[in-house]
Protein backbone atom coordinates (compact mmCIF):
# COMPACT_ATOMS: atom_id res chain seq x y z
CA UNK A 1 0.00 0.00 0.00
CA UNK A 2 2.92 2.37 0.45
CA UNK A 3 6.17 3.05 -1.28
CA UNK A 4 7.96 0.87 1.23
CA UNK A 5 5.70 -2.10 0.57
CA UNK A 6 4.76 -2.24 4.23
CA UNK A 7 2.11 -0.31 6.10
CA UNK A 8 2.26 3.41 5.87
CA UNK A 9 3.66 5.64 8.56
CA UNK A 10 2.24 9.11 8.12
CA UNK A 11 2.20 12.39 9.98
CA UNK A 12 -0.87 14.61 9.54
CA UNK A 13 -0.82 18.21 10.78
CA UNK A 14 -3.99 19.93 11.93
CA UNK A 15 -5.47 16.51 12.49
CA UNK A 16 -7.38 17.20 15.70
CA UNK A 17 -10.58 17.90 13.77
CA UNK A 18 -12.23 18.53 10.42
CA UNK A 19 -10.50 17.43 7.22
CA UNK A 20 -7.28 16.51 9.04
CA UNK A 21 -9.21 14.13 11.25
CA UNK A 22 -10.81 12.61 8.15
CA UNK A 23 -7.43 12.03 6.56
CA UNK A 24 -6.05 10.46 9.72
CA UNK A 25 -8.97 8.07 10.11
CA UNK A 26 -8.96 7.10 6.41
CA UNK A 27 -5.27 6.25 6.65
CA UNK A 28 -5.95 4.32 9.83
CA UNK A 29 -8.63 2.32 8.03
CA UNK A 30 -5.88 1.01 5.73
CA UNK A 31 -3.99 -0.27 8.75
CA UNK A 32 -1.41 2.51 8.72
CA UNK A 33 0.31 4.12 11.62
CA UNK A 34 -0.92 7.69 11.84
CA UNK A 35 0.67 10.43 13.90
CA UNK A 36 -1.92 13.03 14.72
CA UNK A 37 -0.03 16.31 14.93
CA UNK A 38 -1.89 19.20 16.54
CA UNK A 39 -1.74 21.78 19.29
CA UNK A 40 -4.95 20.65 20.98
CA UNK A 41 -4.06 17.66 23.11
CA UNK A 42 -7.50 16.47 24.14
CA UNK A 43 -8.95 16.56 20.65
CA UNK A 44 -5.75 15.17 19.13
CA UNK A 45 -5.67 12.20 21.45
CA UNK A 46 -9.32 11.55 20.67
CA UNK A 47 -8.59 11.41 16.95
CA UNK A 48 -5.62 9.12 17.59
CA UNK A 49 -8.01 6.77 19.37
CA UNK A 50 -10.36 6.95 16.39
CA UNK A 51 -7.49 5.99 14.10
CA UNK A 52 -6.80 2.95 16.22
CA UNK A 53 -10.49 2.04 16.29
CA UNK A 54 -10.56 2.27 12.50
CA UNK A 55 -7.89 -0.43 12.25
CA UNK A 56 -4.66 1.53 12.31
CA UNK A 57 -2.36 2.73 15.03
CA UNK A 58 -2.97 6.28 16.14
CA UNK A 59 -0.49 8.36 18.10
CA UNK A 60 -0.87 11.95 19.15
CA UNK A 61 2.10 14.28 18.91
CA UNK A 62 1.84 17.88 20.02
CA UNK A 63 2.91 20.21 17.24
CA UNK A 64 2.76 23.90 16.46
CA UNK A 65 3.39 24.00 12.72
CA UNK A 66 4.60 27.60 12.80
CA UNK A 67 7.49 26.75 15.13
CA UNK A 68 10.58 25.12 13.65
CA UNK A 69 11.57 23.28 16.81
CA UNK A 70 8.08 21.91 17.27
CA UNK A 71 7.86 20.53 13.74
CA UNK A 72 11.36 19.11 13.97
CA UNK A 73 10.46 17.38 17.22
CA UNK A 74 7.24 15.95 15.80
CA UNK A 75 9.01 14.48 12.77
CA UNK A 76 11.79 13.16 14.99
CA UNK A 77 9.24 11.51 17.27
CA UNK A 78 7.73 9.62 14.35
CA UNK A 79 11.07 8.41 13.06
CA UNK A 80 12.25 7.49 16.53
CA UNK A 81 9.06 5.61 17.25
CA UNK A 82 8.59 3.93 13.89
CA UNK A 83 12.00 3.90 12.26
CA UNK A 84 10.62 5.56 9.14
CA UNK A 85 8.20 8.08 7.68
CA UNK A 86 6.43 7.24 4.44
CA UNK A 87 4.14 10.22 4.17
CA UNK A 88 3.48 13.69 5.51
CA UNK A 89 0.33 15.76 5.16
CA UNK A 90 0.12 19.49 5.87
CA UNK A 91 -3.49 20.26 6.62
CA UNK A 92 -3.26 22.87 9.37
CA UNK A 93 -4.66 26.31 8.62
CA UNK A 94 -5.00 29.43 10.69
CA UNK A 95 -7.90 29.66 13.10
CA UNK A 96 -8.58 32.96 11.35
CA UNK A 97 -9.30 31.24 8.03
CA UNK A 98 -13.08 31.73 8.17
CA UNK A 99 -12.94 35.39 9.33
CA UNK A 100 -14.42 37.74 6.71
CA UNK A 101 -12.06 40.65 6.07
CA UNK A 102 -11.53 43.77 3.99
CA UNK A 103 -8.07 43.20 2.44
CA UNK A 104 -6.66 46.66 3.15
CA UNK A 105 -7.77 46.46 6.77
CA UNK A 106 -6.31 43.06 7.67
CA UNK A 107 -4.01 43.60 10.66
CA UNK A 108 -0.51 42.43 9.87
CA UNK A 109 -0.47 40.10 12.86
CA UNK A 110 -3.59 38.41 11.47
CA UNK A 111 -1.97 38.12 8.06
CA UNK A 112 1.09 36.65 9.73
CA UNK A 113 -1.03 34.00 11.39
CA UNK A 114 -2.40 32.91 8.01
CA UNK A 115 1.08 32.81 6.51
CA UNK A 116 2.93 31.03 9.30
CA UNK A 117 0.36 28.28 9.74
CA UNK A 118 -0.38 27.49 6.10
CA UNK A 119 2.77 28.40 4.19
CA UNK A 120 5.56 28.38 6.76
CA UNK A 121 4.02 25.21 8.20
CA UNK A 122 4.30 23.55 4.78
CA UNK A 123 7.91 24.66 4.49
CA UNK A 124 8.85 23.43 7.95
CA UNK A 125 7.18 20.07 7.45
CA UNK A 126 8.84 19.64 4.07
CA UNK A 127 12.19 20.79 5.39
CA UNK A 128 12.23 18.32 8.27
CA UNK A 129 10.43 15.40 6.61
CA UNK A 130 12.41 15.47 3.38
CA UNK A 131 15.36 13.19 4.32
CA UNK A 132 12.97 10.61 5.74
CA UNK A 133 10.72 10.77 2.68
CA UNK A 134 13.78 10.26 0.48
CA UNK A 135 14.67 7.19 2.53
CA UNK A 136 11.17 5.74 2.11
CA UNK A 137 10.58 7.12 -1.40
CA UNK A 138 7.56 8.67 0.20
CA UNK A 139 5.03 11.36 -0.47
CA UNK A 140 4.07 14.82 0.74
CA UNK A 141 0.53 16.13 0.45
CA UNK A 142 -0.40 19.77 1.04
CA UNK A 143 -4.01 20.83 1.55
CA UNK A 144 -5.15 23.75 -0.54
CA UNK A 145 -8.61 24.96 -1.51
CA UNK A 146 -10.78 26.03 -4.40
CA UNK A 147 -10.17 29.52 -2.97
CA UNK A 148 -6.51 28.97 -3.80
CA UNK A 149 -7.44 29.10 -7.48
CA UNK A 150 -10.18 31.65 -7.83
CA UNK A 151 -9.79 33.84 -4.76
CA UNK A 152 -12.68 34.92 -2.60
CA UNK A 153 -14.33 38.23 -1.86
CA UNK A 154 -14.32 37.93 1.92
CA UNK A 155 -11.46 35.55 2.74
CA UNK A 156 -8.58 37.05 0.77
CA UNK A 157 -5.75 36.10 3.17
CA UNK A 158 -6.96 32.51 3.34
CA UNK A 159 -7.22 32.30 -0.44
CA UNK A 160 -3.78 33.80 -0.93
CA UNK A 161 -1.99 31.38 1.37
CA UNK A 162 -3.79 28.47 -0.28
CA UNK A 163 -2.54 29.74 -3.63
CA UNK A 164 0.98 29.94 -2.25
CA UNK A 165 0.83 26.34 -1.13
CA UNK A 166 0.06 25.22 -4.68
CA UNK A 167 3.13 27.04 -5.92
CA UNK A 168 5.29 25.29 -3.36
CA UNK A 169 3.96 21.88 -4.32
CA UNK A 170 4.57 22.32 -8.03
CA UNK A 171 8.16 23.40 -7.49
CA UNK A 172 8.93 20.74 -4.92
CA UNK A 173 7.52 18.05 -7.19
CA UNK A 174 10.07 19.05 -9.84
CA UNK A 175 12.83 19.39 -7.28
CA UNK A 176 12.33 16.08 -5.53
CA UNK A 177 11.03 13.79 -8.24
CA UNK A 178 14.51 12.49 -8.90
CA UNK A 179 14.80 11.52 -5.23
CA UNK A 180 11.61 9.47 -5.49
CA UNK A 181 9.59 11.90 -3.39
CA UNK A 182 6.22 12.96 -4.75
CA UNK A 183 4.44 16.17 -3.80
CA UNK A 184 0.78 16.87 -4.48
CA UNK A 185 -2.01 19.12 -3.32
CA UNK A 186 -5.59 18.27 -2.48
CA UNK A 187 -8.31 20.91 -2.65
CA UNK A 188 -11.27 19.69 -0.65
CA UNK A 189 -14.69 21.18 -0.22
CA UNK A 190 -15.84 19.44 2.91
CA UNK A 191 -17.65 19.71 6.17
CA UNK A 192 -15.34 21.19 8.77
CA UNK A 193 -15.52 23.48 11.78
CA UNK A 194 -13.99 26.27 9.68
CA UNK A 195 -16.66 25.96 6.99
CA UNK A 196 -19.35 25.95 9.64
CA UNK A 197 -17.95 29.14 11.15
CA UNK A 198 -17.58 30.79 7.76
CA UNK A 199 -21.15 29.98 6.78
CA UNK A 200 -22.42 31.29 10.10
CA UNK A 201 -20.50 34.53 9.59
CA UNK A 202 -21.73 34.97 6.04
CA UNK A 203 -25.35 33.93 5.43
CA UNK A 204 -24.86 34.13 1.66
CA UNK A 205 -22.00 31.66 1.67
CA UNK A 206 -24.09 28.50 1.68
CA UNK A 207 -25.94 29.62 -1.43
CA UNK A 208 -22.70 30.67 -3.13
CA UNK A 209 -20.98 27.41 -2.30
CA UNK A 210 -23.81 24.98 -2.88
CA UNK A 211 -26.16 26.90 -5.15
CA UNK A 212 -24.51 25.58 -8.31
CA UNK A 213 -22.82 22.54 -6.82
CA UNK A 214 -23.17 19.48 -9.09
CA UNK A 215 -23.74 17.15 -6.15
CA UNK A 216 -25.50 19.61 -3.88
CA UNK A 217 -23.56 18.73 -0.77
CA UNK A 218 -20.30 19.25 1.04
CA UNK A 219 -17.83 16.40 1.10
CA UNK A 220 -17.34 14.12 4.07
CA UNK A 221 -13.85 14.39 5.61
CA UNK A 222 -13.50 10.66 6.31
CA UNK A 223 -15.40 9.13 3.39
CA UNK A 224 -14.74 11.62 0.59
CA UNK A 225 -11.49 13.47 1.30
CA UNK A 226 -9.47 11.02 3.40
CA UNK A 227 -9.31 8.22 0.80
CA UNK A 228 -8.04 10.57 -1.91
CA UNK A 229 -5.22 11.81 0.29
CA UNK A 230 -4.46 8.20 1.26
CA UNK A 231 -4.25 7.32 -2.43
CA UNK A 232 -1.74 10.10 -3.04
CA UNK A 233 0.31 8.88 -0.08
CA UNK A 234 0.32 5.32 -1.37
CA UNK A 235 2.49 3.74 -4.05
CA UNK A 236 -0.64 3.34 -6.16
CA UNK A 237 -0.08 7.02 -6.97
CA UNK A 238 3.59 6.39 -7.71
CA UNK A 239 3.53 8.35 -10.98
CA UNK A 240 1.40 11.24 -9.72
CA UNK A 241 3.24 14.35 -8.64
CA UNK A 242 2.91 18.13 -8.90
CA UNK A 243 -0.86 17.89 -9.13
CA UNK A 244 -3.72 19.55 -7.31
CA UNK A 245 -6.56 17.08 -7.00
CA UNK A 246 -9.94 18.70 -6.53
CA UNK A 247 -12.07 16.77 -4.04
CA UNK A 248 -15.01 19.09 -4.22
CA UNK A 249 -17.80 17.16 -5.89
CA UNK A 250 -17.06 18.91 -9.18
CA UNK A 251 -17.76 22.35 -7.79
CA UNK A 252 -14.75 24.30 -9.04
CA UNK A 253 -14.96 25.23 -12.71
CA UNK A 254 -11.46 23.89 -13.28
CA UNK A 255 -10.57 20.92 -15.43
Amino acid sequence: MTASGAGGVVLVTGASGGVGRGIAIACGAAGWSVWVAARRQVEGRRVADEVTSAGGRGTFVECDVAEADSVAAAVAAVVEGEGRLTGAVHNATSGRSPEPVVPSDVPLDHLRDHVVVSVRGAYLLAHHAYPHLVASRGSLVLLTSEAGFGGTMRLAPYAAVKGAVRGLARSWAREWGGDGVRVNCVAPLAESPAVTVAMAADPTMAERVLGHHPMGRLGHPVDDVGPVVRFLLSDEAGYVTGMTVMVDGGNAPIT
Partner: protein, 198 residues
Protein backbone atom coordinates in the same frame (compact mmCIF):
# COMPACT_ATOMS: atom_id res chain seq x y z
CA UNK B 1 2.91 53.36 -24.62
CA UNK B 2 0.34 54.80 -22.28
CA UNK B 3 -0.27 58.50 -22.79
CA UNK B 4 -0.67 59.39 -19.13
CA UNK B 5 1.67 57.54 -16.81
CA UNK B 6 0.11 55.18 -14.30
CA UNK B 7 1.06 55.29 -10.65
CA UNK B 8 3.65 52.63 -9.93
CA UNK B 9 4.06 51.07 -6.49
CA UNK B 10 6.96 48.72 -5.90
CA UNK B 11 10.46 47.89 -4.82
CA UNK B 12 13.50 49.83 -6.09
CA UNK B 13 14.27 46.86 -8.33
CA UNK B 14 11.14 47.75 -10.30
CA UNK B 15 12.31 51.32 -10.96
CA UNK B 16 13.14 50.54 -14.62
CA UNK B 17 9.52 49.51 -15.13
CA UNK B 18 8.29 52.77 -13.63
CA UNK B 19 10.75 54.64 -15.80
CA UNK B 20 9.63 52.72 -18.87
CA UNK B 21 6.06 53.70 -18.14
CA UNK B 22 7.08 57.30 -17.63
CA UNK B 23 6.08 57.13 -13.99
CA UNK B 24 7.66 57.87 -10.64
CA UNK B 25 8.10 54.87 -8.38
CA UNK B 26 6.22 54.94 -5.09
CA UNK B 27 8.42 52.65 -3.05
CA UNK B 28 7.12 50.01 -0.70
CA UNK B 29 9.07 49.85 2.57
CA UNK B 30 12.47 48.22 2.37
CA UNK B 31 11.67 45.98 5.31
CA UNK B 32 12.93 42.44 5.83
CA UNK B 33 10.72 40.36 8.09
CA UNK B 34 12.13 38.00 10.66
CA UNK B 35 10.14 34.94 11.79
CA UNK B 36 8.31 37.06 14.40
CA UNK B 37 7.50 39.73 11.78
CA UNK B 38 8.91 42.29 14.19
CA UNK B 39 9.28 44.75 11.33
CA UNK B 40 5.67 44.52 10.22
CA UNK B 41 4.83 47.86 11.85
CA UNK B 42 6.78 49.46 9.02
CA UNK B 43 4.40 47.92 6.49
CA UNK B 44 1.46 48.92 8.66
CA UNK B 45 2.67 52.55 8.71
CA UNK B 46 3.19 52.56 4.94
CA UNK B 47 -0.30 51.16 4.45
CA UNK B 48 -1.76 53.88 6.64
CA UNK B 49 0.03 56.53 4.58
CA UNK B 50 -1.38 55.01 1.40
CA UNK B 51 -4.91 55.68 2.65
CA UNK B 52 -4.38 59.40 2.00
CA UNK B 53 -2.37 59.02 -1.20
CA UNK B 54 -3.64 60.59 -4.40
CA UNK B 55 -6.29 58.44 -6.11
CA UNK B 56 -5.39 57.18 -9.56
CA UNK B 57 -7.13 55.66 -12.53
CA UNK B 58 -4.32 53.26 -13.36
CA UNK B 59 -1.88 51.68 -10.98
CA UNK B 60 0.91 49.18 -11.42
CA UNK B 61 2.33 47.13 -8.55
CA UNK B 62 5.70 45.37 -8.79
CA UNK B 63 7.23 43.93 -5.61
CA UNK B 64 10.44 42.39 -6.86
CA UNK B 65 12.94 41.14 -4.28
CA UNK B 66 16.60 40.85 -5.11
CA UNK B 67 17.17 37.78 -7.27
CA UNK B 68 19.16 35.03 -5.63
CA UNK B 69 20.31 31.70 -6.97
CA UNK B 70 17.80 28.84 -7.04
CA UNK B 71 17.64 27.39 -3.53
CA UNK B 72 16.01 24.23 -2.26
CA UNK B 73 14.06 24.71 0.94
CA UNK B 74 16.05 21.78 2.26
CA UNK B 75 18.99 24.16 2.56
CA UNK B 76 17.00 27.16 3.73
CA UNK B 77 16.75 28.12 7.39
CA UNK B 78 13.71 29.81 8.88
CA UNK B 79 15.32 33.25 9.02
CA UNK B 80 15.98 33.19 5.29
CA UNK B 81 12.54 31.74 4.56
CA UNK B 82 10.87 34.59 6.44
CA UNK B 83 13.17 37.20 4.92
CA UNK B 84 12.41 36.06 1.39
CA UNK B 85 9.01 34.39 1.19
CA UNK B 86 7.08 35.98 4.05
CA UNK B 87 8.41 39.47 3.37
CA UNK B 88 7.40 39.29 -0.29
CA UNK B 89 3.99 37.89 0.58
CA UNK B 90 3.27 40.60 3.15
CA UNK B 91 4.46 43.43 0.90
CA UNK B 92 2.46 42.15 -2.06
CA UNK B 93 -0.68 41.79 0.02
CA UNK B 94 -0.37 45.27 1.50
CA UNK B 95 0.62 46.93 -1.78
CA UNK B 96 -2.09 45.33 -3.90
CA UNK B 97 -4.82 46.04 -1.38
CA UNK B 98 -3.64 49.66 -1.07
CA UNK B 99 -3.46 50.07 -4.84
CA UNK B 100 -7.01 48.83 -5.27
CA UNK B 101 -8.26 51.22 -2.59
CA UNK B 102 -6.45 54.09 -4.33
CA UNK B 103 -7.89 53.12 -7.70
CA UNK B 104 -10.83 55.28 -8.76
CA UNK B 105 -14.11 53.74 -9.86
CA UNK B 106 -13.74 52.19 -13.29
CA UNK B 107 -9.94 52.18 -13.05
CA UNK B 108 -7.40 49.41 -13.46
CA UNK B 109 -4.59 47.83 -11.49
CA UNK B 110 -1.85 45.62 -12.93
CA UNK B 111 0.34 43.38 -10.77
CA UNK B 112 3.68 42.58 -12.37
CA UNK B 113 4.98 39.37 -10.84
CA UNK B 114 8.07 37.27 -11.25
CA UNK B 115 7.22 33.66 -11.98
CA UNK B 116 9.68 30.91 -12.83
CA UNK B 117 8.98 28.98 -16.01
CA UNK B 118 6.91 25.92 -15.16
CA UNK B 119 9.48 23.32 -16.16
CA UNK B 120 12.30 25.29 -14.58
CA UNK B 121 10.70 25.88 -11.19
CA UNK B 122 12.94 23.50 -9.21
CA UNK B 123 14.75 25.65 -6.65
CA UNK B 124 12.33 28.51 -7.16
CA UNK B 125 9.60 27.34 -4.81
CA UNK B 126 9.50 30.60 -2.85
CA UNK B 127 9.09 32.60 -6.03
CA UNK B 128 6.47 30.15 -7.34
CA UNK B 129 4.54 30.39 -4.09
CA UNK B 130 4.55 34.19 -4.13
CA UNK B 131 3.53 34.29 -7.81
CA UNK B 132 0.62 31.91 -7.23
CA UNK B 133 -0.41 33.85 -4.14
CA UNK B 134 -0.40 37.14 -6.05
CA UNK B 135 -2.60 35.73 -8.80
CA UNK B 136 -5.08 34.62 -6.16
CA UNK B 137 -4.86 38.00 -4.38
CA UNK B 138 -5.71 39.64 -7.71
CA UNK B 139 -8.76 37.44 -8.17
CA UNK B 140 -9.93 38.15 -4.62
CA UNK B 141 -9.44 41.88 -5.03
CA UNK B 142 -11.25 41.86 -8.36
CA UNK B 143 -14.25 40.41 -6.56
CA UNK B 144 -13.94 42.91 -3.70
CA UNK B 145 -13.82 45.92 -6.05
CA UNK B 146 -16.10 44.59 -8.77
CA UNK B 147 -18.98 46.82 -7.70
CA UNK B 148 -16.74 49.85 -8.39
CA UNK B 149 -15.86 48.44 -11.84
CA UNK B 150 -12.20 48.30 -10.86
CA UNK B 151 -10.38 45.74 -12.99
CA UNK B 152 -7.20 43.98 -11.95
CA UNK B 153 -4.75 42.00 -14.05
CA UNK B 154 -1.44 40.17 -13.84
CA UNK B 155 1.63 40.39 -16.03
CA UNK B 156 4.29 37.84 -15.13
CA UNK B 157 7.87 37.54 -16.23
CA UNK B 158 10.68 35.09 -15.58
CA UNK B 159 13.31 37.34 -17.13
CA UNK B 160 15.33 38.23 -14.04
CA UNK B 161 15.08 34.70 -12.66
CA UNK B 162 16.49 33.35 -15.93
CA UNK B 163 19.08 36.08 -16.24
CA UNK B 164 17.58 37.17 -19.54
CA UNK B 165 16.85 40.80 -18.91
CA UNK B 166 17.69 42.12 -22.36
CA UNK B 167 14.14 43.06 -23.33
CA UNK B 168 12.60 42.90 -19.85
CA UNK B 169 11.56 46.53 -19.58
CA UNK B 170 10.17 46.78 -23.09
CA UNK B 171 8.33 43.47 -22.78
CA UNK B 172 6.75 44.26 -19.42
CA UNK B 173 5.93 47.85 -20.28
CA UNK B 174 4.33 46.68 -23.52
CA UNK B 175 2.18 44.12 -21.76
CA UNK B 176 1.14 46.57 -19.05
CA UNK B 177 0.34 49.23 -21.63
CA UNK B 178 -1.70 46.75 -23.64
CA UNK B 179 -3.85 46.00 -20.61
CA UNK B 180 -4.19 49.61 -19.47
CA UNK B 181 -4.96 51.03 -22.89
CA UNK B 182 -7.36 48.37 -24.10
CA UNK B 183 -10.96 49.44 -24.46
CA UNK B 184 -12.21 46.25 -22.84
CA UNK B 185 -14.30 47.03 -19.77
CA UNK B 186 -15.41 43.42 -19.53
CA UNK B 187 -11.91 42.05 -19.12
CA UNK B 188 -10.54 41.55 -15.64
CA UNK B 189 -8.15 39.12 -13.90
CA UNK B 190 -6.34 38.61 -17.19
CA UNK B 191 -2.98 36.88 -16.75
CA UNK B 192 -0.32 37.61 -19.36
CA UNK B 193 2.95 35.76 -19.30
CA UNK B 194 5.78 37.67 -20.92
CA UNK B 195 8.41 35.59 -22.67
CA UNK B 196 12.00 35.85 -21.45
CA UNK B 197 14.06 34.79 -24.43
CA UNK B 198 16.35 37.73 -24.92
Amino acid sequence: MVTEPPSVIGTPTAAPIAEGLGAVLDEVPGVVLDPAWSGSHVIEAWREAQRTAVPAGRLVVAVWPEVVSPTSVIHLDLEEWSARMETSFALWFAALAAACDRCIDGGQVVAVTERPEGKESAGWSLESAVADAVEVMVRSLALVHRSRRVRIHVVSTSARLRGRTGTLVADVVGAVAMLLEADAPGVTTAVIRVAADA
